[in-house]
């Protein structure tokens, strides 16, 4: 058996449906590198293992444990949990970092329950003090900063996507294949998968430095294109309020807010969004907020650095041409 550094931090790598390293991995490895030695775990189809290990090493993994399997195509959650349990048993990490994604939360929850490890969710950072690993959280829409830690033993941490700026240095590739005894735990069956292909070249909402969001004020799916036009003019990601999602202007993965994505960009532009508290919860930690709304009493103005009381259909086209003018 190989031995692992005493300060190992086990990072579960997320992969895209076609076996590439997901964007969340850079933040996880970056965070891990600040508190110890990043040891990565990949659960991946045999044919894709080598390429993935190389990507992981380039992103900062000191060691890459690989569980080669095709089972993740048919079974939900369990293959990852079994692999994580096997990896944790050999690595004996100080913390286990997992993306706070839908799959990541399931894996983290099951793994924590199986190993009786305490769990800290939706961390926006991690650090180490004399007593061990500390997870940092931003709660109630950034109104409070809360730290949490384990009384003893490893802490399982789910890390908010896009929240970590730290990046780890590239390492030489050190791939090790991992033996994973099957737990036999019953899993749900995956019957079919349809990858959500992002057709656009726009940045991802999570972790974007600029976000332009639209609300019910846009009025229809066709007219929501105005939001996308401004986003493209600024190289921004596209967000939305829940009302815009409910009305079918845009798919749910663009929802910003309490039950959507939390963003902290340099710039957030809210168009035709009233600024209900559940929406503000997901965006009010943005560095700069601009809002356009025809209702002067819309609550979004309470958090806007620059607010324009006006009609999005006159203000935004003018803004887009002013930006285009400047580019020339």
């Amino acid at each position: 058996m190989t031995d692992y550094p005493a300060d190992s931090i086990l990072v579960l790598l997320e992969t895209t449906p076609n076996g590439e390293l997901a964007t969340s991995a850079a933040g996880l490895l970056g965070a891990a590198s600040r508190i110890g030695t990043p040891v990565a775990l990949a659960v991946i189809a045999p044919s894709q293992a080598q390429a993935l290990a190389e990507q992981a090493a380039a992103t900062g993994a000191e060691r890459v444990l690989v569980f080669e399997t095709n089972s993740t195509q048919a079974e939900l959650t369990i293959p990852h949990v079994d692999a994580l349990a096997a990896a944790a048993a050999v690595v004996v990490p100080h913390a286990v970092l997992i993306s706070n994604s839908i799959d990541g939360r399931d894996i983290a929850g099951r793994f924590a329950a199986r190993t009786s490890a305490p769990i800290a969710v939706d961390a926006i950072g991690v650090s180490r003090d004399d007593e061990g690993i500390v997870a940092h959280h931003s709660v109630y829409g950034g109104a409070y900063n809360v730290d949490s830690a384990a009384t003893f033993g490893p802490l399982v941490v789910t890390v908010r996507q896009g929240a970590i700026d730290a990046r780890a240095e590239a390492r030489p590739v050190a791939l090790e294949s991992l033996e994973v005894p099957a737990s036999g735990a019953a899993s749900a069956a995956i019957e079919s998968v349809e990858a959500v292909t992002e057709t656009s070249s726009r940045p991802e909402l999570r972790g974007a430095t600029r976000v332009v969001s639209g609300g019910r004020g846009l009025g229809s799916a066709e007219k929501f294109a105005l939001v996308e036009d401004l986003a493209d003019a600024l190289g921004a990601a596209v967000g939305a309020s829940r009302a815009a999602v409910d009305a079918g202007y845009i798919p749910a993965n663009h929802q910003v807010g309490q039950t959507g994505v939390s963003v902290s960009p340099q710039l957030y532009i809210a168009l035709g969004i009233s600024g209900a508290i559940q929406h503000r919860t997901g965006m009010q930690t943005a560095k700069n907020i601009v809002a356009v709304n025809k209702d002067p009493d819309a609550p979004i103005f309470e958090v806007a650095d620059f607010g324009v009381v006006g009609d999005v259909f006159t203000v935004v086209p003018q803004l887009i041409s002013a930006l285009a003018e400047r580019k020339r």
């Binding site: 939900l76 809360v146 039950t259 324009v308 006159t314 203000v315």
Partner: protein
């Protein structure tokens, strides 16, 4: 078919939500408590099934402060047959691990074919309790479902995961979690509210479940620091006089944002 719906009382998100800076717990006095909207949608999934299946029995269960009894009762008024309320001062500061362990014992004690939860609660936003329960109960988890079909021995649905939409299914017994894409819940009517008064309402302590809340041999997550950030202040607000778009462009350029 016995369906347990896990419901949670949360501070009303439309009000101001505060944390107690001493304990880190929700300050109950600061805002009104309501049944979490996602809990109501989870209950609706169970009730809709029960509407057309006479053999279905719907139980609402919650681990919550004593004062949450009225909120849980709303689940009975909406149509659940019985309620289980786990409440104990020792569980007030329970971390996710203790919460899941306690709920799992109570769920086993009540008996179940299907457990339905919300995908994320609006206060904690942990989103890990459903998977933890599935592990402790030794059953499959099918989470983040945006549509649900319950059959005699199985449950299936559409799962909107990260970057992929999938169809999943699980044999019962199972734990599922649902998203807010599922329909709004029905309102309790007068008849429901009256009937709720006569429905079984079980109150359990940690000791009733054989749970020792302060077992120091079990590792837990603790809050080590808390700080309140000053609220964001409003900036400039202008009224569009035909130059609103230009003014925003100037603001962006001045602040090096464009």
């Amino acid at each position: 078919m016995k369906i347990i719906v896990l419901v949670k009382e949360v501070p009303d998100t439309y009000g101001e939500r505060k944390l107690d800076l001493e304990t880190g717990l929700a300050d109950r006095a600061a805002s009104e408590a309501v049944l979490d909207e996602i809990s109501e949608r989870a209950l609706e999934v169970a009730l809709a099934y029960a509407d057309s299946h006479d053999d279905a029995e719907v139980v609402v269960m919650s681990m919550a402060a004593e004062s949450a009894a009225a909120t849980i009762r709303k689940g009975l008024a909406m149509g659940a047959a019985s309620a289980v309320h786990i409440t104990d001062p020792g569980l007030a500061a329970a971390d996710l691990g203790l919460t899941a362990r306690t709920l799992a014992v109570a769920i086993r004690r009540t008996g179940f074919d299907l457990v339905i939860t919300g995908n994320l609660s609006t206060d904690g936003s942990g989103g890990v309790v459903p998977a933890m329960l599935a592990e402790l109960l030794e059953v499959p988890n099918a989470t983040a479902l945006s549509s649900v079909e319950i059959a005699a021995g199985s449950v299936s649905g559409t799962r909107n995961a990260d970057g992929a939409t999938m169809r999943v299914s699980a044999r019962l017994p199972a734990v599922i979690s649902i998203t807010e894409a599922l329909p709004d819940a029905r309102f309790p009517n007068f008849k429901g509210i009256m009937a709720a008064k006569k429905k079984p309402f079980e109150t359990l302590s940690a000791a009733d479940l054989g749970i020792e809340p302060h077992d120091l041999s079990v590792a837990v997550s603790i809050m080590t620091a808390i700080a309140e950030k000053p609220p964001r202040a409003a900036g400039v607000k202008i009224t569009d006089e035909g130059d609103g778009g230009t003014r925003i462009a100037e603001f962006l350029i001045e602040n090096r944002l464009a």
